[in-house]
Amino acid sequence: MDSQTTAVPELTLGRINTPPAQTWNYLRTNDVTLTVPRHSRAGDVYFALPRLFEGIECGVGPDATAWVESQASDARYVEVRAGERREEPIVVSGMDTGVMVRAGAEATVVVCMPSTDAIPAGIGTSGSEADGINTSAALVRIIAERDAHVSVLEFVAANEGWQHIESVGIVADDRARIDVRQFFLGAGTTVAGLACSLNGHNARFDLSCRYLGRGDDRLDINHVIRMRGKNGRTNVSESGVLDDRARKTLRATIDLVHGSAGSEGSELENVLVLSDDVTNKTMPVILCDEDDVAGNHGATIGSIGPEQIQYLRDRGLSLEEAENLYVRALFDDALIAAPNTTVRAAVVERATEVLGAELANDLVEALGLDRKGE
């Protein structure tokens, strides 16, 4: 759907990104509330996904997921046949997307929210001239059958004029392997929720989430990994850079459900805080209902140490240049992971906004690309 400038009815969505276990309400960490547009679908025929997708837990929670469903232009069901290795990525566009990866198959799912005004991806993009904020959303639910291997790549690289809601739900059967890479590089508000349930035995889930918050960006992330089958493995790694007046909340829950004997889950977050006006909230949770398991989590939150700064100064780098190194490394990583020219172009454009044209050019040249990501 193209962006619009006419006012549409609005809806206040509460309890988005609510984690399974909650902390003190006064910390204002338990959930997030957003005002979103509500397009009427009266009279439309909506072709829903097959029923088996309905029960999949999505990271943003049931209310927000239902809203995205209600705003989606259509539903799209993609099936990767048993044993097939699908080379072409499944790109999640303006539809409620369900992906079935059959036994032993391999597939890559891409969700991208570029920064250009012409939004090719996202659901229910809309806005009003009054507040100048546009809204986009993406919803994808994935079923990975036994021995399937699914890679999920998420990119949010918009400017401050956008609020974006991204919801992902995954279930994995025996020995299925799920690799997720998330790059949250910008948007006035990014609300991203991912839930993965390792239902089968010996299933594996790896998540790398990298984020950047600057200006008045608001970033709200919820990761929920339910380990239900035996001998599952989960590794979650989050790292990010926060500057200016950015506000970030990360909730990461590893739920070792009764029956998940032999499973191990670990989660680690590293946050680099570059400004005293930043608000950084982190809530790493382990829920454990099984004894023969191992759960670990850790978090480090801080700035560049004085010794590190001195080291870099000795080599001719100013503090700003040193800080830019961290940001540049983030964009580097995103560009390397970007699966196609559309995503690369979005990352380059966002890098130009954040780092300036010169550094962005350095980035693309180092990778042998042009500014269109080709």
Partner: protein
């Protein structure tokens, strides 16, 4: 990976015979169950309080009725019905300074708990509360000569020198509107301790208050107010126990601790309430510049606990350490942890907690570390380790961090697991039996907390845990 069949550690339950004895309430003064303004007025009148305290109680009662419990909070307290709780039960005795003046049944109770012996051997002063009133209070003369005040809140309120001090500090750190059970506490509080340590005085031996709730279907609402002046040093120990009943009991105490510039306060708690107890206690410390707050906490009893001691590091270079262990057995759901607020520059906080879950017991560790904008160079680390001893128990870890200063450094780590077979095998290869090996592992797990206690209390804690390893049964 093939499925593994692993042996499980069998750990005996806490031996509660030491604590599960009761005496008749015959002759006791017991107010009606429930919560009314008349009951609040009666408590206040009995204590002959200043009017400001009565007004505070009545306002808190209104707050209690007006406040709702958060619907998304912790273990259920649905079994707690204030219409079936008496908020004031008092034995027919006056406060004594000599154990010989304490009624026989009460004296026997505290003797069985080892309080008079501990007082003789290692304490600077003791307060003993039985149900709603302090029945014994004493302090060594040499400590009193240094100007240390250790008395009840009630007595301090009747002393013209200390009434203004109580008025200045009481309810300031934990306001009645803090939460529903703080409001309840301020409406019906009774007993507890007032401690004042003058500037520069270092109290060599600990002071201890012991709280015993004997009555069935009753609540205990003691208030502890401690002021440690500049450069002073104090170790305060709090012990609590109750016999088991099938009717719900309630403990909703409040502890307010003021640690002034360069002072140090260690606050140790061994809590062993019975398994019909709802332990909804609130503790808070405010720490001034260059001062240090140390918490040592052992939580073993109660049916449900909400317990999160809070430290406000208000002054520059102030610090706190929190060491805690929680043991949840059958029918227990213990929601414990701590909160640290770092507001001063160069403040440091260290949190190290352990939990053990067995026989279907549930442990939840919660923490919050909040670093304010003014807390330049603040450092905080939180470590939480949980040991699961069977597959019907539960252990959750729910930390939260809110950092608003770029120069702060905050770290958190948590692990949940069981006793490693490799560790047991290693110890067995060096001559230990399997039971001995497992005992050593669990003992070592609890050791970082027990070593923080004076020897007598470390022994009590180890007795409480009573980790008798009885071999491995699948």
């Amino acid at each position: 990976m093939s499925e593994r069949t692993r042996k499980r550690t069998q750990v005996a339950d806490v031996d509660r015979s030491l604590y599960d004895f009761t005496y008749s309430e015959e002759g006791y003064e017991r107010y009606d169950d429930g919560l009314t303004p008349d009951i609040v007025r009666s408590i206040s009148a009995k204590k002959d309080e200043p009017d400001w305290m009565l007004q505070m109680r009545l306002a808190a009662l209104d707050t209690y009725h007006a406040k709702e419990m958060a619907p998304n909070w912790g273990p259920s307290i649905a079994g707690l019905d204030m219409d079936h709780i008496s908020t004031y039960v008092s034995p027919k005795t006056k406060q004594a300074k000599d154990w010989d003046d304490v009624p026989d049944d009460i004296k026997t109770t505290f003797e069985r708990l080892g309080i008079p012996e501990a007082e003789r051997e290692s304490l600077a002063g003791v307060g003993a509360q039985y149900d709603s009133e302090i029945v014994y209070h004493n302090m060594r003369e040499e400590v009193a000569k240094d100007g240390v005040i250790y008395t009840t809140i009630e007595d301090a309120l009747h002393d013209p020198q200390w009434e203004p001090v109580v008025h200045e500090y009481f309810g300031k750190l934990i306001p009645p509107a803090d939460h529903k059970f703080a409001a309840l506490h301020y409406a019906v509080w009774s007993g507890g301790s007032f401690v004042y340590v003058p500037a520069g005085v270092k109290v060599e031996y600990p002071l201890q208050s012991y709280f015993r709730l004997n009555a069935e279907g009753a609540g205990q609402f003691e208030h502890t107010l401690i002021i440690v002046e500049e450069g002073a040093d104090l170790h305060f120990i709090e012990g609590c126990s109750a016999p088991k009943y099938y009717e719900a009991n309630l403990h909703a105490g409040a502890v307010e601790l003021f640690v002034k510039d360069r002072a140090r306060l260690r606050y140790s708690t061994i809590e062993n309430w019975s398994k019909n107890m709802y332990n909804l206690n609130t503790k808070r410390a405010r720490v001034a510049a260059d001062a240090k707050m140390e918490w040592v906490s052992g939580s073993f009893g109660s049916h449900v606990s909400y317990l999160y001691p809070t430290t406000i590091l208000a002054g520059d270079r102030s610090s706190c350490e929190f060491s805690g262990i929680t043991f949840a057995g059958a029918t227990q759901d213990l929601d414990t942890g701590c909160k640290v607020i770092l507001n001063g520059a160069d403040t440091t906080a260290s949190v190290d907690t352990k939990s053990i879950s067995k026989d279907g017991g549930c442990n939840t560790f919660r923490s919050s570390v909040v670093v304010g904008r003014g807390a330049a160079n603040a450092r905080a680390s939180v470590s939480c380790q949980s040991l699961m001893l069977d597959d019907i128990s539960r252990s959750d870890t729910i930390p939260a961090m809110d950092v608003r200063n770029a120069t702060a450094n905050v770290g958190h780590e948590a692990t949940i697991g069981r006793i490693s077979d490799d560790t047991v095998l290693y110890l067995m290869s060096r001559g230990c039996s399997e039971a001995e090996a497992r005992t050593m592992v669990v003992g070592g797990f609890a050791n970082p907390v027990s070593k923080e206690l004076p020897l007598e209390y470390a022994v009590e804690m180890n007795n409480l845990i009573k980790l008798e390893m009885e071999g491995a049964i699948g």
